[in-house]
Structures are given as structure tokens and as C-alpha cells.
Symmetry: D3
Subunit: 239 residues, 6 copies
């Protein structure tokens, strides 16, 4: 089974980090291809970055048709709906994956993400998936995405402190880490705080395996109907 | 990996049917144990049957501690919350599993279940999971659960007709089959109607594998906190 | 008029307490029968206890057909839907009763219940009844159910403190006491805090009188349709 | 016990009809005073009539302080919130009363009211009470309020036909009659259609008895705080 | 273009204040007529005042037919629905206007209003308009409406302090001032706190110009259908 | 006052059509600049086209800083949130504008759009704006966007037929036309069907004038915080 894991920003070190987390979660026999677009924002923090990464993200999907499922490895589930029009293979966002799992092992979870500017986009996603009722609060740790890549930063401490507050104030029974770059912290923070801490990358890889294993396809009726070939050709003229 | 699949009604032929569907979906290396309680209702059609099957269901979980995940193979997700208190292994309902997957491959899905009396319980579940906004309609085919086990019944036709109506009237982009006993019909109906048709048993087995593969545990904080040992002993005095 | 008041746990002293509160609220001419099952949990604190009390609860209803209405005297409204399938007499949960009344004498109310583990079940009930929009918050006092039966406990103080917080922080205009065992505290706490404090037992008895007085019956169509006699016989073979 | 039943329109024959229904439902020992304002609309059909009846309605409450509970006998629950500021006795709207009861004897109910122009006001009330999730549909029979008072009209037939449609199309398990003037039809229509048919007047009288019997008072905190005496005097200068 | 701006309370100095704010916002060529009823409450603080101002408000609309749009200049949008039945010109409430604009320049806003007793009415309006999901919190500054008219009061300070809390605790991205009497404070408070602060009077005047400029009319179908002439005549007999 | 009206697709004839409609609605003194990106999809019909038009749309905003407000003239409000990060001038989507106005002149409206594949995106927008409760139904006329530009097509008839159905089946009190290309049809269809028919282009121009006239700015706190200059430079390197 082949899973295409796309980091929609252009920071290769983060793609490596994500690829490692994905491979760590994958079953034997699953091949992970971790890629990122060559142009677009270096990190995705809010609506503008999200929008500017879409062309690169969708082009990456189009150029990698040989896969059984696609994982979008940015916590705001960048371009999820558009990607589902472009391919009938299951497309899973890492935010979405973590929320769904969290809702099956807790009555209520909180999200700890990076910057305040990213919070509304996550809240909108939760509302769209219907899982806002299960999310106590989306919290920002005020750790920037690329800070997570810097060895000396106190990112882990800030995130841990925010988890503590979520347990005390939100009555959170589980925590979802709100950035692909936090994947390596999950196990340790779960240990420290005594509750499930979910990382979206590993959740999405397992969901992708599950859906590809069932040979699932995205519906071609209604909102995910594929764009007509003529339109595709006009947009990607190199075809 | 060991997955305990519990049919909460007492009809052994249905347990066989469910076990077969579960094994068909399981990865190599996954061992499926399909069981049912020895007392309780012969089929679960609505609130009363659900309630009367709970003691048997929970007792079955307690007697089978050696597993990595539990699947509750009744479409109304009988006793899901109570089961999550009793064991920290992931517990997945087949209704829940199908709804979550359907919401990731379609914008809107409809459910086709057995009898009208079962519809409100399913609607309540959907609302609780937050996925009611993604469900266009819960439809009953007026096929009783045990009719599905009878070779000569016209169950398949009634279900197929209801799927046709769901596509035409509900703008459904995918269909969820609303009974464990319909597992064997899914592939064929998908073919016939040209859209994804999801069966909960296979969905739940794959979700169980995914969650167990990530070594997930149900939260022990809040609503799923385990009952104190003294209480357990008073309820199951044989311990 | 005869009202069957069922304490679904097996603690007889609590049944006495509940029976006394019920009789105190009943009109002249109303006969209260307060009973409890002989097996099941000694107290109901969360999903697991709820599930394990259902068989006893429903059996108790079946054995007491000679009544005009049934009150389920546990604040999580244990088995309400299943009970409505079993008898066409009005069945009223004490949680439900208190919420409905509170929504008619205040814009917003808060609930003060026993343990944190019980909170999610109450939140789910409120959402199901549609009254979650009227409930500011479900608060736990961390008083266990059976502590309420112990003369020397500081249960009253903890509950009173939580009411004070609800008024200050939730802008609660009324308080609902979230346990049948708190019935005797309501009048005094209302006096102390200067706002309505509702106890579910008395509310449910009055609702039961009202509904029985109107000769109301639970609908036999759809979700509350009675189980077929053959199924009933297979479940309660002694019939 | 004294219950003040106010028909907020000025049609005395309708007040008589309502008074009769109220007395039919009242317990021995309950005294019903059925009144209507002397100025304002002759019938209440929609937002404008509602608004223009408020001054008369509130003045009627002020002039009748000697009562244990107040029933507002118009199905759109005219002035309910304002009335709750003016008196601390329980104030119950007949729409509200019927919705609450219907939600306790059915999973879903439909409303059959008079004219299409009244539907949005009822839908708004249902949303405010939180009971919209339990209401399948608000249907208009296109019978004007005063037509209900005319012996030769075919009002009953139109209403009965609409009930038939509600059962078939809405999967309604109970019906709420959406006008005080329909009180006398309920028993007969329930018989005809084989499901509970609720009339708001009788429901509200029983709720009023229940609440007064518990000595309940509307909260004086927050939104129902009484207007200061100086303001009352400036508005009702005759005081 | 002529816009009728109605202050539904009877305090003329407040009408002047509102008229000044309205004229300050109006385009050249727009004529503002600011009026108030001659009887009714001197200020509108909660449900009772609202109800008692309706007859005067609607009578004022009826007596001023020569206008292109109507603004109801009380923040609880007094009588909005009834007014829309009485005239087909656009009718805009100042609360409504500010909420709609705030939802287009921020992800989340908080409201700072006068007294706690007014909060539930505003919350109900927000829910009805569907904009409650965009409102973080309705806060009361405990400044009475008429205090805003008194030069020496510390009203501005209390309101400013509440805005500070809203930014810190609610993550509000914009503030809506919850009283017509606060119109003159908006620009200054926006400057002080560095975020948009919206005043309903100016918002409503601009919306009124926009709608009248498009020649919009309120729908005459359904809930805003005009009352029949006979009913109007019976209510306003002087016609 | 200068309003930048962006057609996010690349079809110049449609930009002309939109520009004409915008100028027809603008006040004297308002200058309309109607533009479209030079690359991207020729029409926007669903999620994929939306995503692929974003880079061109945002680049167009960046290249036209000299304006007082921005209108996004595609009915799915393409890139609304991202645009609000890029400029602090008010940004208004034509879908959004029409929904807000429709909710102020009707209790319930229906949308008539182009193709079924566009419906889910519109439903998601409505839910996000909170206006889904006011929208009875989003209907597709099965008229493709570019068909609207073809003189001989029977587009108008199909749209008119769908409006008829919306009135009869949805109890719609107003209609919103769901495509910028339908702007010229609104007045005529309103006349034909006797209810308000709103076109988003004209609504958005008037809202833009209103907001710019109040000197409103989009909040710079939280979700609409502007991207840091370094990130902007990396994305638009030509700066």
C-alpha cells in the first residue's frame, strides 16, 4: 500500500519530521512518500498561508497519482475538499483524523495549537466536521510553527503548560496537538499528563491505511464530482 | 492483534455472519473473536432491546479481557459509553465507525436501516457524535433484522429501492447500511447504484486495527473513568 | 392516582429518602409507591452503573403494571426511552422534569451534581432534550451519591459553595440539584442563595400527576413502539 | 389554588371556549379565572397581532394579582418573557406547555396550526425553548382562528387531513394542536388517528397546577428581574 | 432618501443623541427623521420595557408612512418582526445591523451592553439571527441606559474596562456597543483598544441607505404578510 | 469612493457583466473597478475551481491597494478569509451579502444556484455565517455558469421553474440567486414571482459602500491578523 503524505508548506526539514512520524506509525508493507510543494509559504499559520499553499498542494497530488490514499499533513486540513475532487482515493487531513479519533476515546477534548491567528480556522473546521460539540476549547500555545523545528526553543514547555490548563479548566479528557510539527512530542506529553495526547500525522496514516484497506473511494456524486477534463487541462496546461 | 467483535443479540447465525464479514476485512495478523451473550434479546430493534442486551454485552467484555480492541457489532452502538468505562482498550461501535468514514468520503450521506422503530435511536446517536449535520436522512427499509438472515426474503430489493430514493430525494453522496446483518450486501449495492455504500462491521474492524496499531487507550479521566473495584465486585459477584 | 417511583439503584435508605420527598410533593389522593430493584449497582455514578441498572429497572416496571405514571428517580434519567417502550403510562425522569421546569422560570440555569464522572451523561441528556441551550453549566460538587446519606458529611457545604460559583460565574438564574439524594436540601439552599433551587424528585412527581391527570399516554408509533409479545416472553421467560 | 387564564385577544366567545377547556382539565379545588383584555386584536395571527396585544395582556396580569399561576392562552405564547418580569408567579404559555409534554411522550411531534403567517413565530418559539429538534414540522391548516368558532366551517376536516399528512410525511409520533381555539378537538382527533394529540390549554393548566403546587417562583435574577417601581408607575400611572 | 429613525423609549434627549449620530453617518441627500413615541417606558431595559413600548413604536411607524426605510434605535431590536408586517419598507434594528457588520470584519465579537437584565434578550436575538456562533459573549457594564445621558457618570470607564476584559478573556476581535446611547463613544474606544468598535445606530443608518438604494422591500409572503385592513382598522380605530 | 470588484474566474465577458451590474447599483461618486485574474479557472463550480482561483484572486487584491472596499464577485465567496488577512479594507463576498440582506427582509429564503456540485460549498458557507437556519434550501437549477452568458440558452426558464418550486415546497419568503452571472435576471424574476429576488453583486456593492462610508476596517487581531512582511515577500517575491 502506498500513502502519499503531503506537507503543504515548503520547509523540507518539516517534511522530513512528518515523514519520520508517518513511517513510525505505518504498518509493515505500507510505503510512505513524504513530499512538499516547491513554491508557497514556508509555514501555514492562518487563512492567508492556507490559501497560498493550495495551488502547490493540488499540483503535488496531480503529479503523484500512484498512491492508495493521500494525507494532508497540515493541521488546518488545507485544501481537503478540493483534493477530494481531484482524486477518488481517500484524502485525509491530519486535523480531521485526530478529531475523529479523539471523539472515540473521550467525551471531550481540547486542542493545543501554535498561534492565536490559527485558532479561528481550526474552530471552523471543527464546526464543519460536526465535532465542535466534542471539543472543549482550541488553545494556542504561542509557539510558531518553525520554532518547533528549533532545538533550543522552549516550545515543549509552553505546550505542556497549555495542556495542564486544558485539563484543569476545560475538563478535557484528551488532548489533540494542533500542528504537524508537534508529532514527536505526543507520547511524552501523554505520559506526563496521564491522558491521551493525539498527534494528527500518525492518526491520519492509520486512517489512510484503514480506508485504503477497505478499498474505499471518495464519492463522485455532488460536491466531490471531478472537474471536467477540459477545465483540468486549462488549469494545468502542461498535461 | 486481537479484536473482540461482540454481536449484542443472542442469534448465533448472525454472529457467524458478522464474524465472516469481520475476518474478510481484517489485515493478516489480526485475529477476530466473534461472540454473543447467552441471554438477552434475539435481535435489537429499538430502545427496549438495546437496554435489555446491556448486561450480557458488558459481561461478555469483562470475560474477554485479552484483546487489543473491542467492536460492538450492533448498528445502534449498544452500550458504547458503558463499555468504555469497563476497559481502556478502544471500543468502537459499527454505527459510529460507518458514520465517521462516510463523513470523510462524502459531503452528505443517508442511512438505510431496518424498522421505523429503530430510527430515533440512530438519530440520537448521530446527534451525539456531531455527525447529524452530515447525515441527510435516516431511512427505514421495513426489513426486520432476522429477515436479513432468511434466504428467500426480498430484503435486498427493499434496501436497494430505499437507496435509490435516498440518492434522488436526499442528495446523498454515500449510503450507510444501518444493520450488522446487511454487511454482505454492501459491495453489490455500491456497484448497482454507483456510489460508496458503507457497512459498519468492516469499517469498525479497520478502525479498531488503526487505533490498536497506534496503541490508543480510552481516557480514564471524566466520563469514562473506570468503576471502583468494590462496585464492580458487587455487580459481578463471581469475580 | 398511583405513581410508581423507582430508585434504580439498590440502596434502600435512598429509596426511603426519595419516597419521603415524593410523598411530600404529592397531592392528596396520590399514592406513591417507592421501590428499587433487588440487584444492580448501589449507586449510579456514570455510564457503567447506568447500564448495569437497566435490567433491574425495567423488570421493576414490568412487575408493577398497576400505576398511572412512572417516575425514574435517578438524575441521569436511566433507561427513560426503554421504559417508554415497555409501558404506555407516562414515564418521567427526575433530571428531565427539573430541566423542563427550570427552563420555564429562568433564562438560564446551572446544574450542581455529584461526581465529575457523571457530568458527560448529564450533558448528553440536556443536548437530547434540547435544553442544553438553557443550561449554563453542569457542575460537580465532588460529593459521592452515598455521602449524601451520611449525616456527618460536609456535602451540604460543598453543594452550597458550588451554587455560589454558578451564580457568580455562569449568570445562572436558577439551580437544578443533580441527584435524587439531594431532594431534602432544595428549600434551604433556595432560601440561602435567593434564587429557585429545583429538586428533580418533587418536579417529576408533579409532572406525573399532571400527565396522568390529563390521561396522557406515550405514543405507540415509531421509536416507542412496544416490543412484540414473543420478544418480551423470550426476555422475561417467567411471564 | 387560583389560576388566571388570559386569552390575549378580545374575542369573548373564544375566552369562554378556553375557560371551559381549562375548567375541564383543572383538579377539584382549582379555580379558573378566564379573562381577555378589552382592547387589542380580535385574533392573534402572526407578529403584528402579537405585538399589539401585549399592553392589554400585561395590564390584565397587573390587575389580577391574586392568583397562584398565570396561563397565557394563545399558542404563540404572547408576551411570556415580559409577563415573567411583572409577576413572580409561574407564567406558562400554552404553546410551551404542549411542546414540553409532547417531547416527553414522543420522539418527534408535528404542530398543526392555523395560518401560514403564524408559522415563523411558532418556529422561533420552538428554537428558543430548544424543542425545535423534537418538532418534525410546523404545519398550517389554513383555518383562520375565528373560523374555529363558526359551527358550519370545515375546520375539523382540514385539521384532520393535515394530521394525516404529518404522520405519513414527518414520521410524527404525536401532534400538537397550534391554537387555543382547537382545544375541544383534541380527544376526538387522537381517537381518529391513533396517536397522542395535545391541546395547549389543558396542558398549561396542568403545568400551572404542578408549579403552583410546588410553590415555584420565577427567578428574580437576570432577565426576569422585576421593573423598578418608578418605571412601573410611569407606565401604569393610575397605580 | 428619507430614513425614519425611531427611538422606542420616550426620552427626548436620547432621541436627540441618536438623531445626531444618525445624521453624522448619513450620506449627503439622506434625510433623517428621529422620533420617539409619546407614551411608554423612559428607557428599555429588558423584556417588560420592550413589550410596553411596542404599541407606541408601531403607532409611530404607521403615522410616518413617507419614508424609504425604518431604523429601530433600541439595541434589543424592539418590535422588529411586527414592524416588518406593518410596512414593506426595509426595517432594520440597530442591534441586528451591528451584529451583521461585526461578523464581516471579525471572526468573533463580544457585545458590551448596559444592565445584566438586558443580556438574555440580546442573547435570544443573536440566536434568532444565527449570529450567536460569532458572538463570544454578551457582557453587561452595569451602566443604566439613562446614566449614559448624564455628563458626570463614569459610564465610559466601566464600558472601557469591560472591553478590555472581552479582548483578554473572550478572544474578541471586535466589540459591539450594546445600547443606542453609547453611539458617541465608539470611535474613541476603538482608538483606545486597537480593534473595531461598532455602534448600532450608524451601522443601521448605512444598512438602511443600502437597502433603500437597492429599492428592497420586505417580503409580503409568510410571516411578514401585512395584517388585513379590517384588523388594522379595529386596532387603530382613528384611521 | 473606490470599490474593487473581483471576478475570481478568468472569463472577461462575465467580468463585464458583473461590472455593469455593480455600476448599476453604485451611488453617484462611487467608482467601480471590475477585474479578473489572468490565470485560473474559466468558471468556479465547486471546491476545486475555488481552490485554483485563490492565488490569482489574492494577487489581484495585492496589486490594487488603492480602494476603499473589495467585493469578491463569486457566489461561493472564494477566498474571503484569506483576503481579509491581506488588506484591512472591508472585503465582502456576494454570497454573504445576499444572505445577510435576505435574512432582514424574510423569515426564510431559498437559494437557486447553478450546478449540484456547487451546493455543498454554499451550504458550508451558510453554516459558517450562521445563516443556515434562515435558509430553507439551496437548490441547483442545473444551469452551468457559462451557459448564463449564452444568449440562446433556456437558463432563465430553468431558474424561474426552480423559484416556483422553492415557493411551493420550501415556504421560501425570498429568493437568493446563487451566481454572479445571474445578476441581470433578478428584477424580472421578482416581478414574475411576487417576492424579493436578491442578486449578490448589487447587494455586495451596497454593503461595501455602507462599510467604507463608516470607515470600517477589518480587525487585525486574531484570525485576520496580517501575514508578516517576510512571509509576504517570500510568497510574492517581486515585491
Amino acid at each position: 500500500m502506498k500513502i502519499l503524505v503531503i506537507n503543504p508548506n515548503t520547509t523540507a526539514s518539516m517534511t522530513d519530521h512528518i515523514g519520520k512520524a508517518a513511517r513510525g506509525a505505518a504498518s509493515p508493507g505500507t510505503e510512505i512518500t513524504a513530499v512538499n510543494p516547491t513554491h508557497g509559504p514556508v509555514s501555514i499559520e492562518g487563512y492567508f498561508d492556507e490559501a497560498m499553499s493550495l495551488a502547490g498542494l493540488l499540483d503535488t497530488i496531480r503529479r503523484n497519482p500512484d498512491c492508495d490514499a493521500v494525507v494532508i499533513a497540515c493541521f488546518d486540513d488545507t485544501g481537503l475538499d478540493a483534493a477530494r475532487c481531484l482524486t477518488d482515493r481517500p484524502v485525509i487531513g491530519i486535523g480531521e483524523a485526530a478529531y475523529h479519533f479523539a471523539s472515540m476515546i473521550s467525551n471531550k477534548f481540547s486542542v493545543v495549537t501554535t498561534l492565536a491567528r490559527s485558532v479561528p480556522a481550526l474552530e471552523h473546521n471543527l464546526a464543519r466536521y460536526g465535532l465542535d460539540a466534542r471539543c472543549a476549547k482550541v488553545r494556542s500555545s504561542e509557539v510558531a510553527v518553525l520554532e518547533l523545528e528549533q532545538p533550543g526553543s522552549n516550545a515543549r514547555q509552553k505546550i505542556s503548560a497549555e495542556i495542564g490548563t486544558a485539563i484543569a479548566e476545560d475538563r478535557a479528557e484528551a488532548i489533540v496537538l494542533g500542528c504537524a510539527g508537534m508529532a514527536s512530542l505526543a507520547a511524552d506529553l501523554a505520559q506526563e499528563h496521564g491522558l491521551p495526547v493525539l498527534d494528527g500525522v500518525t492518526c491520519a496514516v492509520k486512517l489512510a491505511e484503514a480506508m485504503a484497506g477497505l478499498n474505499m473511494r471518495t464519492s463522485r456524486l455532488g460536491g466531490y464530482a471531478p472537474p471536467p477534463p477540459a477545465k483540468l487541462k486549462s488549469i494545468f496546461p502542461g498535461e
